[in-house]
């Protein structure tokens, strides 16, 4: 088709470009506002005085930001205990899951073994299984072996490469590494374990970092399993405590305090995300496009 068919605008091209970029920026900013305003409100409320938080009139930002609520949470031995509980559960679960997932993904991507496709298909099919189908029988099972009321049911299952999605993600990443790496190493006399440890894992660091962050987020936020397995107040993790803060039977806790505790709970998530976002954003894209 001849070029003259294009509709010509009366505006010069450059100006039009700048105009449309301006609109895109405006929209992007509006979107950011939409994404950030609940967080802004959390922060603002946590810094308010009781009067400001209680007033039916809205206070956008406290006249004199108060750090009292944060001080109260951070000096309360209970809250520190909940933080340490969450940190413990998350650390251990992330470590165990990450290493086992790395091993399994290696088997699915870089070794040819009989039955691999069948096992891989089985693994993918667990993605469809609702969490709740196994939740109940697992509860009964853990009850039988006396694990209810301990951290074990929350931490230990992950050690068995819990999380088919992560295995899948890492497998995709490992498939992308050149085949010659292993072959050369095998000829040099290295065994599979050495190849995994010394060649494949170091090359997978971005993907491993991403999965570690996903696992961190998942474990740090987990509510359902801790709710049923941690049966004593001094073992609670943060989500359980926070979910129970609003108890209709008792007077409502001060909102600045609730919001300060919530903000402190989220800080680790935000920090971890900030430092790893480059890897994460790349890897999320990977799951979708190659699936």
């Amino acid at each position: 088709m001849p070029r003259s068919n294009r509709r010509e605008s009366f505006l010069p091209r450059k100006l039009r470009q700048a105009f449309s970029n301006g609109i895109v920026y405006l929209l992007l900013l509006a979107g950011s506002g939409f994404m950030l305003f609940p967080l802004f409100w959390m922060l603002s409320t946590s810094l308010k005085t009781m009067e400001e938080a209680n007033s039916p009139r809205i206070t956008w930002w406290p006249a004199q930001p108060q750090a009292d609520a944060y001080h109260e949470v951070l000096t309360d031995s209970r809250w520190l205990l909940y933080f340490s509980n969450s940190a413990f559960v998350t650390t251990l679960a992330v470590l165990g899951t990450l290493i086992s997932v790395a091993a399994v993904a290696y088997a699915f991507s870089r070794i040819q073994w009989p039955g691999r496709n069948i096992v891989f298909f089985l693994m993918l099919s667990t993605l469809m299984l609702p969490y709740q189908t196994t939740l109940v029988p697992q509860y009964v099972m853990f009850n039988k072996i006396g694990w209810v009321g301990t951290y074990n049911p929350i931490v230990i299952p992950g050690f068995f490469a819990g999380g088919a999605l992560y295995i899948f993600l890492l497998r995709q990443f490992m498939m992308g590494l050149p085949k010659e790496l292993d072959e050369a190493a095998l000829i040099d006399g290295a065994n599979y374990f050495q190849i995994w440890r010394h060649i494949i894992l170091p090359l997978c660091k971005p993907a491993l970092a991403t999965i570690a962050v996903f696992l961190f987020v998942g474990n740090w936020n987990a509510l359902q399993a801790p709710l049923i397995y941690l049966q004593r107040a001094n073992m609670y993790t943060l989500p359980v405590v926070i979910a129970n803060l609003i108890n209709p039977q008792v007077q409502v806790q001060p909102w600045p305090l609730i919001m300060a505790a919530s903000a402190l709970t989220m800080i680790p998530l935000v920090v971890v995300f900030f430092f790893t976002q480059r890897y994460i954003l790349e890897s999320v894209a990977l799951t979708g496009t190659k699936g």
Binding site: V140, G149, Q231
Partner: protein, 447 residues
């Protein structure tokens, strides 16, 4: 490069180990039987002790309402005092949260082991009564037993036997702000159902489609519905154990709640009150309230000069109608799986002394469930004394609610549908009656 990964892994393991090591006070796993120390602590007197006295550890599961207060008191004062009398009994506590109490108790019963003393809610006897040890034989020679307020004992009786000891009593009554009442032309608190509806409307302010002041709160509490049925002289079960929601009392009570709600919220599109902290009654946002003293302003608050506490109201159409103060009791019970029932009973009796019940309840401003424990903070407090008086006269225990969790879900589904005009009164009552009958049948409580 590689070593870095391993350093990271090792570092994280160390962190995990450190977290494990510097954790809270050591607590054993609740589902495991209390572990006997294989090596008793070295004591100089140990060899001379008669071998017959065996050291026993009992576990007590307590709802930790006020962290760092109740637990400290139990561990630092009660247990040492108890062990002076019973040096052979160790006491350990398991603290739980109200939100996860049910899961914990169910876990214990499922496993057939767990804490030896359980902190139960007011209506639990119908659910767990069969699995709690009958204590009549242990308590019949205990002189203090006679001191417990009869109304609180409703909560703990099952098949003619006490299954535990009440230890916290929180009555629920009505409260109104007299200054707001005066402002809207009311010189006294409502005495009848109709007056309550009228007042709720008069004291409400709606501006711009949102509540600025709420004449009455709460507007959809299922527990108040039960209280209102009792007020009218009705009951929620018929003699054969089937639900009684086809009775005129159940009907009138629900109709009243609807009318009162409509008086407050002109339509269901009205926005409710803002989220606030602390007692609503102190905030000028609410004129009247139904609830316990815990949800009310502190009794030391001068606002109480402007609050009138009253037991409720009656309906002239129902001759048996009398105000009801619904009494919620927390109680302590011993499950049948316990291997140390006699020792647990000893601790129960100790906790149930007038002094201990007084101290425990002073933490929340609730009432000790025995009359001779009403000294100190209770006596000094005009509001408490008034509430106590109302409870003595109008108190009915919130006990024996069968299949509570499912029953609550039915009410919470059906009542709001009626309140929002999605279904009429007849359908609502019919649905409650049918669904609750089905639940009781499924649970084997009805043929």
């Amino acid at each position: 490069m590689r070593s870095k990964v391993w350093i990271l892994v090792a570092g994280l393991s160390v962190v995990a180990l450190l977290l494990a090591a510097c954790g809270p006070r050591p607590t054993p796993s609740p589902t495991q039987p209390p572990v006997q120390p294989t090596q008793p602590p070295v004591q100089p007197t140990q060899p001379t002790q008669p071998p017959a006295v065996e050291k026993v550890t009992i576990q007590v599961m307590v709802v930790d309402y006020i962290p760092d207060k109740t637990d400290k008191w139990l561990e630092e004062e009660v247990v040492p005092a108890f062990q002076k009398e019973h040096p052979n009994i160790n006491v350990e506590f398991v603290y739980v949260n109200w939100g996860t109490l049910d899961e914990t108790i169910q876990g214990y019963f499922a496993a057939g082991e767990g804490a030896d003393i359980l902190n139960l809610g007011s209506e639990y006897v119908a659910e767990y009564g069969d699995r709690l040890a009958p204590l009549g034989a242990y308590l019949k020679d205990w002189p203090d037993w006679a001191q417990f307020i009869p109304g609180t004992l409703d909560t703990v009786m099952w098949e003619g036997e006490p299954r535990g000891l009440p230890w916290l009593t929180a009555p629920r009554a009505y409260m109104c702000r007299t200054d707001i009442l005066q402002e809207v032309g009311w010189s006294k608190v409502p005495g009848t159902f109709d007056e309550m509806v009228k007042l709720a409307g008069d004291a409400t302010i709606v501006e711009g489609g949102a509540l600025k002041r709420q004449g009455f709160t709460p507007l959809d509490d299922w527990q108040e519905y039960i209280s209102l049925i009792w007020t009218l002289g009705g009951s929620i079960y018929k003699d054969d154990g089937s639900p009684n929601f086809d009775s005129p009392e159940a009907r009138a009570a629900l109709q009243f709640m609807y009318d009162r709600r409509r008086a407050v919220l002109p339509n269901e599109q009205t926005a409710g009150l803002p989220e606030t902290t602390g007692a609503l009654l102190a905030s000028d946002l609410v004129a009247c309230q139904w609830g316990n003293l815990w949800g009310a302003p502190a009794t030391s608050d001068p606002i109480w000069e402007k609050i009138e506490l009253f037991p409720g109201f009656t309906d002239p159409d129902f001759p048996n109608s009398t105000p009801v103060v619904q009494v919620f009791n927390d109680w302590l019970a011993i499950p049948t799986y316990s291997k140390h029932i006699p020792e647990a009973v000893e601790f129960l009796k100790f906790l149930g002394s007038a002094e201990n019940l007084n101290t425990y309840n002073s933490h929340f401003g609730s009432f000790p469930p025995r009359k001779d424990a009403w000294f100190g903070y209770v006596e000094k407090d005009i509001v408490m004394m008034k509430m106590g008086e109302l409870m003595g006269q109008y108190g009915v225990g919130f006990a024996d609610i069968r299949e509570t969790a499912q029953f609550r879900d039915v009410l919470m589904a059906e009542m709001p549908l009626y309140f929002s005009d999605a279904q009429d009164l007849d359908t609502t009552l019919k649905n409650i009656q049918e669904k609750y009958t089905q639940i009781l049948r499924d649970a084997g409580r009805l043929p």
